[in-house]
Symmetry: C2
């Protein structure tokens, strides 16, 4: 069936920006802890796994799987020898490829590779002219198109916004169909119910064919544990559906320190590691070697209101710490993103997003959901925010390439041409390199104030609005084999008939 | 004379924020280069020092000093054995204290310490209600007061904006007088002419007394080399004035890669190191052991217009690289800041400033001029930008404290109190720690959208405006011994009579 897939030749890329299916990092990781500190953290992870335990609730099949493997079960709480759990984690790949239907867009998740995807799960959207409103399928499709077109986003994620005008019970079908047909980048599948996970996997089989799917990761689910220390059936059923087919799973403890974890970054990180590692072990019991991404999402809170805060020093530190811990367990990491509590695309949004993302990047996060478009603590997807964040992601892309130490970068010949106090503008070294020397941040205005005012004195938000509207004007749908398209359409139609309409 | 100085007891601190005279960092540095790469860079630094040479121009005394020390001089170009230059650099202290007139505010520059100061040198100012205009002495004094009051700014710098309504020839007197009397934080002196440097040093002697000044660094000058490869008399005369009195000097090659250096970050960093090290060597010939800060200011440029750009990946990498190189030479480092090319306090300003400052901070910059208030590539000081940036500096302060690995942060008792799926809000560990667990970013709004709208839907810029205007309403001048105040006033009056009025 693989032969059915045609590659879109028109990449819809922003002119002049190289296509980059994902980032191969050469910059070193920023490791903030020494061996002794790491061992102290790991000892607590082991203590949580062995002595505190993690509950696996509401899915008797999951308990059965643990039982068969020989785990000690107390009610629904699993306590297990940490060595055994660490061994099981080792059977998951430290890096793996997720195929895209366009092979040029397949991504490697893990190791020195970093993959950026947009915001996931926001019920609201906002743009400069339309204001704030519930997400709908029209906005959703526009966001899928923009993600497809933007060279700095490597992966589609899934719920770029909630299409709230489609019944909850059928929404996943429209979302997956949009990702599969409007884009050719890799994306995620649904997880909210086992049948929806099943639909996702079945649609992926239509798109990629059984043979390809048997041998490759072509779709993944992204699930949250129910922190603290609880794994519910949404997680275990998603794993049973995705991993049993050899597909990937991203498991993310979401811990607001002080609520779902102790009011301590140190403790919250160890708890998150313990939860994710236990779930990884479970995934390996379901299918040895299934691709697993260890997730982490720690948030601090406002001391005034208890509301979650983003871009703050505590989650920034946790990104660096968890990066080190994940590498030691040997699992690909999801953490961070361009996160903010701001309601609009103002300086707060950008300060918080940049600090959050800078640390996400230096920490070596392999799969970054929420890398663009996140506002309001994740409640709202911003069209301008998506494009602004994505513009900055290009800058990180350059940074992750590290310092260029090739001989020509030392420019010795240039020093032979230039006098003290002179300038290098005309030197032959400059002529050779100036077109590629610097990252071109399209949405940053570096003109002087007079030129900027002459052009209308637009802030970055207005420039981002102009950018995404013009991108949509130039959108071209990537080609797809008509038989595949037809099969997908038929599947969605059939399932929509079968599934009862539910709005909650 | 030291006994004359009284300490201001009212700190004018923002309530609830601890006074923090400077940052003692415990977070490790982010080192991006390995030994081989470092040696390759250092080999080029040595080559520039030995074979290319640096011109010392327009100050015959400087050439005489080099000649007496035995340097090879070709016209005005000095080429020197790199070992000798590196040895001279070693005689400068790797860290030193700059006294403030309030001893609680003295700062350590070098080592694991980081000191933040506001923007330097902007001819324009901007605020939300007054708009963009030339700086004047009224704005200048307000900016000095705000810097004095803000707990996250440790040092006053000097030219927070240019007071353009005061003649150029007398401006330095008013600026230094304002720093000395309206604030009690450490600050810089003037450098634009030798007589102005002399006034700065003489006023510092009035403030601190000869005895204290003989034994301590109480003032520093901040000068730029004339890159590429040229050191003019502004630099050498400032060094002769400050260093001969045992006072400090900050020397900063400002290199726009492609103009004042090759269009390569790698080459530009080596050139900047060579220039600064040659000047450091000169400072040590003037006075062995004089405090010297190795500066670095690299900028990338827009490929469209040739305009300087800020917050881009190339200068970010250069911050990390130069941090490593400076530590190996053993000199305190000045680099980076909250830099941006944006004309207003929008998302561009914040993204660029945050990425620039995040790297400045992780690189271990010991003295950070331009840490707050910088806009428009340095042409404009923003009142809101100053307060917004300074708010974020508090977050970095927390981050630089590193991960807290004390036993109580592991919260083992909390896990004994909480059920799977429960919450930690009421646990005794939370009660013990919640008031100090998280950085309180005063200007970040984390409310939900409804509350935020109810309060007026203000963006961060408006909140910053409200903040700085209310700070000024609550300003109280720090106490000063009347005799000292009188002596300073008399000095300024006398010098203003002596100096001819010049407007250029």
């Amino acid at each position: 069936m693989a032969r059915r897939i045609r590659v879109a030749r028109d990449r819809n890329q922003t002119k002049g920006t190289p296509a980059s299916p994902y980032i191969k990092r050469t910059l070193p990781f920023f490791d903030v802890l020494d061996e002794e500190q790491l061992e102290k953290l790991e000892a607590q992870v082991d203590w949580i796994i062995q002595d505190v335990g993690i509950a696996f609730r509401d899915d008797p099949v999951a308990l059965e799987i643990w039982k068969e493997a020989g785990a000690k079960i107390d009610g629904d709480i699993i306590r297990a020898p940490a060595d055994w759990i660490r061994d099981l984690c080792k059977s998951a790949p430290s890096e793996f490829k997720q195929l895209a239907r366009n092979p040029d867009r397949s991504v490697i998740i893990g190791g020195n590779n970093q993959v950026f995807a947009p915001i996931y799960g926001a019920p609201f959207v906002r743009d400069l002219e339309g204001g704030r409103r519930y997400g709908d399928i029209d906005s959703f499709e526009k966001l899928v198109k923009l993600t497809y077109m933007h060279p700095n986003l490597h992966h589609g994620g899934l719920v770029i916004c909630e299409p709230c005008d489609v019944p909850v019970s059928k929404r996943h079908l429209d979302m997956i169909y949009a990702h599969m047909t409007l884009s050719d980048k890799p994306h995620l599948g649904a997880i909210t119910e086992m049948s929806r996970a099943q639909d996702s996997v079945d649609m992926a089989e239509i798109l990629f064919g059984k043979e390809v799917m048997d041998k490759n990761c072509v779709i993944m689910g992204n699930v949250n544990t129910n922190s603290p220390l609880l794994v519910d059936k949404v997680v275990t059923e998603a794993i049973r559906t995705y991993c049993s087919r050899g597909q990937g799973i991203v498991v993310v403890p979401f811990i607001l320190s002080g609520a779902m974890g102790p009011v301590s970054t140190t403790a919250s990180v160890t708890q998150a590691m313990a939860e994710a590692m236990m779930v990884c072990a479970f995934s390996q019991l379901v299918k040895k070697g299934a691709p697993f991404v260890l997730g982490n999402f720690l948030s601090s809170m406002s001391l005034k209101s208890g509301a979650p805060t983003f871009g703050m020093p505590e989650p920034i530190i946790s990104n660096y710490v968890v990066g080190q811990l994940a590498r030691r367990v040997g699992l690909p990491l999801r953490c961070g993103g361009s996160l903010t509590a701001s309601k609009i695309e103002d300086a707060q949004a950008a300060y918080e997003s940049a600090d959050s993302m800078h640390s996400t990047m230096l920490a070596g996060a392999n799969f970054v959901l929420h890398a663009a478009g996140w506002m309001e603590g994740g409640l709202c997807t911003g069209f301008e925010k998506l494009i602004m964040d994505a513009d900055r992601l290009g800058s990180y892309q350059k940074l992750l390439a590290g310092a260029d130490m090739s001989d020509d970068q030392f420019a010795r010949d240039a020093y032979m041409e230039v006098e003290p106090g002179g300038h290098f503008l005309g030197s032959s070294h400059t002529m050779r390199h100036y077109q590629t020397a610097f990252y071109n941040a399209e949405l940053s205005d570096s003109d002087n104030v007079e030129s900027w005012e002459d052009k209308g004195g637009m802030d970055m938000r207005r420039r981002a609005f102009n950018k995404w509207t013009s991108m949509l004007d130039n959108y071209e749908q990537p080609a797809m084999d008509p038989a595949t398209a037809e099969a997908l359409t038929a599947y969605v139609a059939k399932r929509k008939e079968e599934i009862p309409e539910m709005w909650y």
